[in-house]
C-alpha cells in the first residue's frame, strides 16, 4: 500500500529529475524538442532501479550477494578517496586504524591518542552508529578531532559495508 504509493510518487519525480538534470544544459543541443525519446529511455531505466531501491530497504534480496560485492567495491573506493588522507586499515595516522572497527567500542584502538570527546563516547560502532557519525561527528561527540562529514548517504552505506567486510 505505502510501497505502491511511494513508487507512484517517486517515479514521476525521478522522471522530473531526469528532465531537470539532463535538460537545462544538454537539451537544446542534444534532445531537440524532448517529445518522443525521453519517455522510452526513462521507463527503461527508472522503474526497475527505483522499485528495487524502495522494496529492498533493510532486507537482502536474491541478488543480494552480488549487490553486496558491488557495494563493498564502491565502499573501498570511497574509503580510499574520502577517508584515506587520515585513516588506514592497519596504521594509526591522523585518525585511528579501522580494521575491526565494526563491533568495537569507540575510542579504544591501542596507541592512538583520542580527543577527550571520543574517549568519553560510550558506544559500540555498528552500521547505525557509524552512519550517524559520518553524517556529523561533532554532533555525536562534541569536541572530536574528526570534523570531516560524508554527506552522500549512498557513499556512507558503501563505506560502512566496506568497513564491515574488513571487520570480520
Amino acid at each position: 500500500m505505502t510501497r505502491a504509493l511511494l513508487r507512484f510518487c517517486v517515479l514521476p519525480s525521478a522522471l522530473w529529475l531526469l528532465a531537470g538534470c539532463g535538460a537545462p544544459q544538454t537539451a537544446p543541443a542534444l534532445t531537440e524538442p524532448a517529445s518522443e525519446p525521453p519517455p522510452a529511455a526513462s521507463t527503461e531505466i527508472n522503474p526497475p532501479s527505483m522499485a528495487i531501491h524502495i522494496s529492498d530497504q533493510g532486507e537482502v534480496s536474491e541478488a543480494g550477494t552480488h549487490e553486496a560485492g558491488a557495494l563493498i567495491e564502491r565502499g573501498e573506493r570511497v574509503y580510499q578517496r574520502q577517508c584515506g588522507a587520515c585513516h588506514s586499515l592497519d596504521q594509526n595516522r591522523v585518525g585511528p586504524m579501522h580494521r575491526g572497527v565494526i563491533g568495537r567500542a569507540a575510542g579504544t584502538v591501542p596507541g592512538y591518542r583520542y580527543s577527550r570527546a571520543l574517549q568519553g563516547l560510550d558506544l559500540v560502532w555498528t552500521d547505525e552508529t557509524l552512519d550517524a557519525w559520518l553524517q556529523n561527528p561533532s554532533q555525536m561527540a562534541r569536541g572530536t578531532a574528526m570534523g570531516f562529514r560524508l554527506q552522500d548517504a549512498a557513499d556512507r552505506a558503501a563505506v560502512i559495508a566496506y568497513l564491515e567486510s574488513v571487520s570480520e
Binding site: C86, Q139, R142, T144
Partner: protein
C-alpha cells in the same frame, strides 16, 4: 617565497577574524540537546575548532613528511624531485596558516611526529620505483583535497574560503600527479568531494 606571498594575505585575514569565527555553536547546541549536557559556550566550541584544525595540521605534517621521504628515496628523477619539493612547500604553507589559526584560538598546534613514524604509517618500505611513489602521493593528495572539502561544513563560515583554497591546492597537486602517471582525465564532473 611565492608560497609565502600567496599564503600570507589569507593568514592575516584569518587572524583578524579568528576571535569570532570557527564557532561550531549550532553543532554544539545540537550535541548538547542530544546528550542532555547543557551547551557550555565558547570554551567548548573553541576546543572543538582547535581539535579539528589540529587534525588538519596532522594531515599536513604527514604530507610534508611523505614528500621528504619521497625526495630522499633515490627512486625519483631529479625533475620529479623538484616538483615534489615545490608541492612540499605548499604543504608547509598550509601548515603555517593552520598553526596560526590554532594559536589565534589559544590552542596548542599539533606537533609533527618523527620521519620514521610516517615512513611506517605510509608503508614507505613497500615503495620500489617512481610510479609507486607517485601513486602514493596521488592517493594522499586526492584524499587531502576531499578531506578539506568534507571539513568545510564543520568550520565557521569565515574559514570556508581558506579550507576551499587548500582543497584547491591539493586538487592541483593530484591533477599533476595523475597526469604524470598517465591516468585518464575523469569524464564525470565534480571530481572531488
Amino acid at each position: 617565497m611565492t608560497d609565502r606571498d600567496l599564503i600570507m594575505p589569507s593568514r592575516r585575514a584569518m587572524l583578524g577574524t579568528a576571535g569570532r569565527t570557527l564557532s561550531l555553536a549550532g553543532i554544539a547546541m545540537v550535541a548538547g540537546a542530544c546528550t542532555g549536557v547543557a551547551s557550555k559556550a565558547t570554551a567548548d566550541e573553541t576546543d572543538s575548532d582547535v581539535q579539528i584544525l589540529n587534525a588538519a595540521i596532522a594531515l599536513e605534517h604527514e604530507g610534508i613528511a611523505a614528500y621528504q621521504i619521497a625526495a630522499t628515496s633515490g627512486l625519483l628523477d631529479p625533475a620529479v624531485v623538484d616538483i615534489g619539493v615545490t608541492f612540499q612547500g605548499h604543504h608547509k604553507g598550509h601548515r603555517d596558516a593552520l598553526v596560526s589559526a590554532v594559536q589565534a584560538l589559544g590552542g596548542v598546534p599539533a606537533e609533527a611526529e618523527s620521519l620514521e613514524h610516517y615512513a611506517t604509517a605510509l608503508d614507505a618500505a613497500s615503495l620500489t620505483n617512481q610510479a609507486d611513489v607517485l601513486k602514493l602521493a596521488l592517493r594522499l593528495e586526492t584524499g587531502a583535497a576531499n578531506a578539506y572539502l568534507g571539513l568545510i561544513p564543520a568550520l565557521g563560515t569565515d574559514y570556508h574560503q581558506i579550507a576551499a583554497r587548500m582543497a584547491g591546492d591539493e586538487a592541483y597537486h593530484a591533477a599533476i600527479l595523475a597526469n604524470a602517471l598517465g591516468e585518464p582525465i575523469p569524464v564525470e564532473p565534480l571530481i572531488f568531494g
